[in-house]
Amino acid sequence: MLLALAWTTLTRHRTRTLLAILGVAVSAAMLLDMVMLSSGMRQSFRSLLLSRGFQIRLSPKGTLPFDTEATMADAGAAVNTLRADREIVAVSPVLGGQLHVAMRAGALASVALGVEPDVQGDYELVEGRAPAAPNELVASDDFLRAASARLGDTLAAGAGFDPQLQALARRRSLIVVGRARFFYMPAGQRAVALPLGTLQQMQGPAARDRVSFFMVKAAPAANIEAVRRRIERALPQVTVVSTETAMRQVDERLSYFRQLAVILGAVSLAVGFLLVTTLVTVSVNERLGEIVVMRAIGVLRTRVVVQIVLEGMAIMIAGAPLGLGLGLATARYLNSILASFPGLPAAIDFFLFEPHDAWTALGLLTVVGILAGIYPSWRAAALPIATTLREEAI
């Protein structure tokens, strides 16, 4: 009967209840978005780093991968050293550079990655195949659109372009054999991947046996930190970063995001709390007579409190699923804005939805709903019966 009483009390003032539910939905949406934001980018980045299973990255000493244009010499020897470690199952060397493609007027520049196609972890084929010959490449959709190229086309390309001479440096003909999605490229970035040796040749003698960084995959049962330390000892000329080390650095850089998310999440909870408290207080003040009569006829104080708290919780719980939908829609929109941040890989999401985020938000809302109803309900249930009836009669 308490449930029935709570329900009928809420439906007595439908408009007011509906507005409260909508208000809670907005609050819940913001809370969910902040919960998603507080962990989304970190989770997304971690997933990205581990997307192809590579747990360790090697870059020139003192740098992070692609932080600078620095490269490492003696790449071949380094690869041999790494592959000699029994706990290392794959080594992917990567050379970064530029590729210029001859167009009718001038040349089109794009980012170029020199990789070993069999072990690469930089792209995923969408159509076609990986390069199997030195004169083949795969390209991103942005590149193909800009170059007006399709699978099977042969492109005149070079590692550099002299605008005065209108000539490509170290020109080669390259065939587009695949269309790929590049994990670490920002949205809109033109990118190609070709065999490592081809790009090294195109960059000239200075690039011989040089790479920008390595990605290393350890065996599933390996202790990653132990592998990382062994590599550091074997190759003192490089910086060795495990996913966990990278994540710690990411955490430091993202800490302000998390602080912002926590503060805004707390604000949204506070707004929800105040909204429900206000509504319950107004509702209780309108029916003080009913409440004390319930006490007079023998309804225990705690049960009166439970009935009123149920009203507050009902509003929160009704608003929560609406808030979930609104929050997901808002997150998608905000993500699309933030994802265009310059230099950020397109694969990074700021708002990443995990089911436990929804449960966390729902749990917080439920607790807040209970707390919001407790004070006004306890206050009402503790009113002196006779005095209140007399005042209500006036």
């Binding site: 009483l5 439906t11 007595r12 009569v293 319930m294 007079a296 225990l300 019966i385 209500e392």
Partner: protein
């Protein structure tokens, strides 16, 4: 007949601003089983305050109230609330039905609180509503009932747990003349047919012909009575 209700040297004082109001001053009273007692007096004499003390919805500043040998003034709040549920029935001037519930649900409310099984409480509620003349109005909400009908529902609610004592505070105060007589008659029938002990506060002059005894209260003091045991 043994006393159902016994009050000894009751006092009730409260502050209104700087002023100390002594609403009830040294009232002693016994009400026997099956009595139908009216407490009358001028407006502001402390009738309702006395009734609230006798019904356990207010605490005396001094003195004792005993119902069936149980001291109300010594009970903790939860125990007193439970005592009211099983031993007391209340009828108020303003009815105080739950507007969100139907007539049937209003009558069921005390039984629901007493954990009576749903089918049984529904059956009893229907029976009582029929007894008070509200057949076919079970599904009506209070707003759809007249004042007299609402008070009938309130009376049905007050007796649904078969209490030892029915306490009525100006039950005809908000009713027209015809409805007032109907309510007084109904209370009389409950008293006669079911030996319900009724204590009623009223300043309705018609009430005196329905009751067994009348006690007069003036400025918080019992002045005299006709019948009853002051």
């Amino acid at each position: 007949m043994p006393a159902v209700l016994s009050a000894r040297d009751l006092h009730r004082e409260y502050h209104m601003g700087a002023e100390l109001v002594r609403a009830v001053r040294g009232v002693s009273l016994d009400v026997a089983e099956g009595d139908y007692l009216a407490i009358v007096g001028p407006s502001g004499c402390g009738k309702s305050t006395l009734l609230n003390l006798l019904g356990g919805i207010d605490r005396p500043s001094a003195g004792t109230v005993t119902i069936r040998d149980q001291r109300l003034d010594q009970m903790r709040d939860a125990d007193l609330t439970r005592f009211r549920l099983y031993h007391l029935g209340f009828v108020f001037q303003r009815f105080y039905l739950m507007p969100a519930l139907t007539a049937l649900e209003n009558v069921e409310l005390p039984m629901a609180e007493a954990k009576v099984e749903k089918r049984a409480r529904r059956e009893r509620a229907r029976t009582l509503l029929s007894y008070v003349g509200l057949d076919g109005r079970h599904a009506h909400r209070p707003a759809q009932l007249s004042g007299g009908e609402q008070q009938r529902v309130a009376i049905a609610r007050a007796v649904v747990t078969d209490p030892d004592l029915l306490v009525a505070d100006e039950p005809t105060g908000d009713l027209d003349a015809r409805s007032a007589v109907e309510i007084l008659t109904l209370l009389r029938e409950l008293n006669r047919a079911f030996a319900k002990t009724v204590v009623m506060v009223t300043h309705d002059p018609r009430a005196e012909r329905f009751v067994d005894a009348v006690v007069h209260l003036d400025k918080g003091v019992l002045v005299n009575g006709t019948g009853g045991t002051p």
